[in-house]
């Protein structure tokens, strides 16, 4: 840590020296873990080609503007984009909440203690939820409000806009998981996470700048190739065959997974990353839906087999495009509703946010979009499948995906399921449910692995979740006792996988992770053996 207090004006500092240099010793302690990984210095080559002047970390594999003209173009593009964010027509989607959040924050800092990134970092000023908002607010006041133009520093309008300001602000917008815990505790209802999202949107929609994993290899690839994973329709069909093989191998059952079945009741859309990284999860869904006698299908249409909509974190136009494809595919299949698999952001994007980017015939009334969790609880309640809780006789805790709980209010179904299928009572994290902490991978961080960003994610943004997991299993930390963290969300699972590896939680404490559907299948009475594969078996 630099030791010097950070001032708002520092954001415009022309030096390439980072505003803060993180040191592992300054981060939030993680008892009982000792010998925590040190943070590595950025490679010399990165420092030559990229701008790491915020905190020494970056995911932005984008060469820096070199000439004064290029830098000036970036600054002007930023200011033009900010003007559009404030324009009720250009930003009709969020202009009201954005504008009010800019104008009416009382700067009481009540939100700071709600932020896992700020706390995990050992309370580094630049990660405070209000820090980036205050920078943007001061720029906004200076350039776009009469009071700011007239009174300047007297009303706080004192941040200079230069290339460094713009670039550091861009980086800062990717130091917030947009989990919106800060908005939840704000006495005014100010949404600092939304401000972070709007900064990202400005860069994406006006300048075409976003982490490659989100835009170029994310939404662009999904819209043009079918999936953010790069999976095309043919590869999807191969994946489905692979799932059928897994099912037969693990359960002895021969199931034909329905694809493009016209008139099915349910179109199930998974995060396509599941097919590649955790195929046992979509396979578990197939086993459950088949056993429960549900009339369902997958889609092999481009975009229709990938529920992700990364744009929900940074781009309203791309958000609408992907949501529209999902709904059109469901309409063409003639299904009664879409059910989103275990993917948190896809839940929120399709079931909630997309509701108002599409006209009447595509609203939730006309083509319902639902979470898989109530459906899974209905299956358990129906008695169509017999579960034996003793097959899940190990300590269990649950990581709540922010998008599912805090941002959708789906809290109880997953807990009722655990109660019905597990032998031991659920060990709730503190806090849990709508007050949970983000896994640290929210808003795209889980998939952002360029340059040294994953090191920042593991050590800073995932830190609070690791602390919570250790707390939930505090009395059974013996590595001989296998423990399971439920994460009914692909990106959360990805983050937990990496954090478990980074902090060696399996080796040191026997902590593993997985989906909820997997756990359900593991408890099915009429299946021969365990379905879950622990780390050592993989």
């Amino acid at each position: 840590m630099t030791g010097k207090p950070i001032r708002f004006k520092d954001i415009a500092r022309l030096s390439d020296e980072p505003l803060v240099s993180l040191d592992a010793d300054d981060l939030m302690p993680l008892p009982p873990l000792t010998d925590l990984p040190e943070l590595k210095a950025p490679r010399a080559r990165w420092l030559e080609n990229y701008d790491l002047s915020l905190d020494g970390f970056s995911d932005l594999d984008i060469p820096m503007p070199k000439t004064p003209e290029e830098k000036e173009r970036l600054v002007q593009g930023f200011l033009t984009g900010l003007e559009k964010l404030l324009d009720p027509e250009q930003n009709w989607t969020f202009a009201k909440l954005f504008r009010l959040s800019m104008d009416y924050c009382m700067r009481c800092q009540t939100c700071s203690e709600a932020c896992h990134v700020y706390l995990g970092s050992g309370r580094q000023e630049i990660y405070r939820p209000t820090y980036r908002s205050e920078i943007l607010r001061r720029i906004y006041q200076r350039h776009f409000t009469p009071a700011g133009k007239l009174l300047g520093p007297l009303v706080g309008a004192d941040v200079e806009v230069n290339f460094k300001t713009v670039w550091r602000l861009l980086e800062l917008s990717y130091r917030c998981n947009i989990c919106r815990r800060c908005a939840q505790v704000c006495p005014e209802g100010i949404d600092n996470a939304l401000i972070a999202r709007e900064i990202r949107k400005l860069f994406s929609q006006e300048l075409g700048i976003a982490p490659a994993e989100l835009l170029k290899k994310g939404t662009r690839q999904q819209l043009t190739s079918g999936s953010s994973t790069g999976m095309n329709p043919l590869a999807l069909k191969n994946s489905v065959e692979f799932l059928e093989e897994i099912i037969e191998e693990k359960t002895g059952r021969k199931i034909t997974i329905p694809v493009d079945k016209k008139g099915a009741d349910i179109l199930l859309i998974h995060n396509a990353g599941e097919f590649l990284s955790w195929p046992e999860n979509p396979a578990a869904f197939a086993i459950l839906l088949d056993a429960a006698g549900i009339n369902w299908t997958l889609s092999s249409e481009m975009v229709g087999y990938d529920a992700v909509n990364y744009a929900v974190w940074f781009d309203d136009v791309e958000l609408a495009r992907i949501a529209l494809r999902h709904i059109e595919i469901a309409r063409e299949l003639g299904v009664k509703k879409i059910v989103v698999g275990e993917c948190g952001h896809a839940h929120k994007a399709l079931c909630v946010v997309a509701d108002r980017v599409l006209p009447g015939e595509r609203t939730a009334m006309e083509m319902p979009r639902e979470s898989c969790l109530p459906l899974m609880w209905d299956i358990v309640k129906s008695g169509a499948i017999k579960f034996d809780p003793s097959r899940n006789d190990f300590p269990i805790t649950m990581h709540d995906s922010c998008n599912v709980v805090r941002l959708m209010g789906i809290v109880q179904p997953q807990r009722e399921i655990v109660k019905a299928i597990c032998a031991q009572p659920l060990r709730e994290m503190a806090p849990y449910g709508v007050h949970n902490y983000c896994c640290g991978g929210g808003s795209g961080f889980a998939i952002m692995d360029t340059l040294n960003f994953s090191e920042w994610r593991n050590s800073v943004s995932a830190r609070m979740k690791v602390s919570q997991i250790l707390g939930a299993f505090g009395d059974v930390l013996d590595p001989g006792i296998r423990k399971y963290v439920i994460a009914a969300c692909s990106n959360c699972k990805g983050t937990l996988r990496d954090a478990i590896n980074y902090f060696e939680l399996w080796d040191k404490h026997g902590i593993w992770y997985g989906g909820l559907a997997d756990l359900m299948v593991n408890a099915m009475v009429d299946l021969p053996g365990p379905y879950i594969e622990w780390n050592e078996e993989m």
């Binding site: 001032r7 969020f94 009201k96 009481c108 009540t110 939840q184 505790v185 109530p374």
Partner: protein
Amino acid sequence: MTLQWFLVALAWASVVIFLVVAIRRVVKINAMPMGLRWEVYPVPHEAPEKRDYGGSYMEDTDWAKKHKARSFKEELVEFLLPEAIEIGTEILTMKKVRANNRYGIWIFSVFLHWGIYLFVGWTLLLIIASLTGSAVLTSISIVVGAIACVLGMIGAVGLIVRRATSPDLGPYTAPVDYFNLIFLGAIFLFGLLSLLIDPALVGHRAYFKGVVLFAPSAVPWAVSLTFLLFWAFVIYMPFSKLLHYVIKYFLYHQGLWDDGFTVKGSAADRRIVEQLGYSVKWQAPHMVSGKTWLEEAQTTATEGDKK
């Protein structure tokens, strides 16, 4: 007498200016486009059995099919009342600040805000007491006024000190924030002085009788100064972020608690269709500038779309 007439005119003018500017601001905000759904749970108007743990209607399957339109009474009792209770509790107790703020401002914030509420109440009591001549109301006014000014002063001074000395609050406090607190503190300070100079409220009542009946009379200097500052503050408020207690409604009701899904053919649907007709002027390579929002959504923004 010129000053007395000025104070009478200022009282009326401040109320009119406040109402005109505040209403104009509210109407302008309300007229802004309907944004996307962006709720945060717990949402107070959810079903009572779900409200406490932050659950929503989306915990059930087929929630869209179960939708039924609310009657006016249901809208009022099941929807707006729980929201009003939640916002009201926050305004009166600042429970979120108490639970989450570690910078020692909760008690001072509560004092300052209660000072303001009671000061407004004191003003209303003085008006009624001046017109009715009620001794009981006058006695109550003395107590309310004294409590208002003491609480408000402690609150304002406490917040100034906290903001000036805390490394967490100080950098975020602009000169205008100190100005606001000093402004409020001055009103409470002179309010207290006016009570000391005119403990039976003879001058206070005379002033308000003059305001209401347009018949100004000479009043003690501290009374004049107190209400000169107070009316000036009433004028200043809607131009500043101090109108935040009104804006809270929009941030909560139309933001954090707006969980309504669109019903085909509804007013919301019509509004969204209109908004989808706005022209997009964003300039990134993956935008097709000049199309409407709906047309944008129907493209993939590949080269072919741009021709």
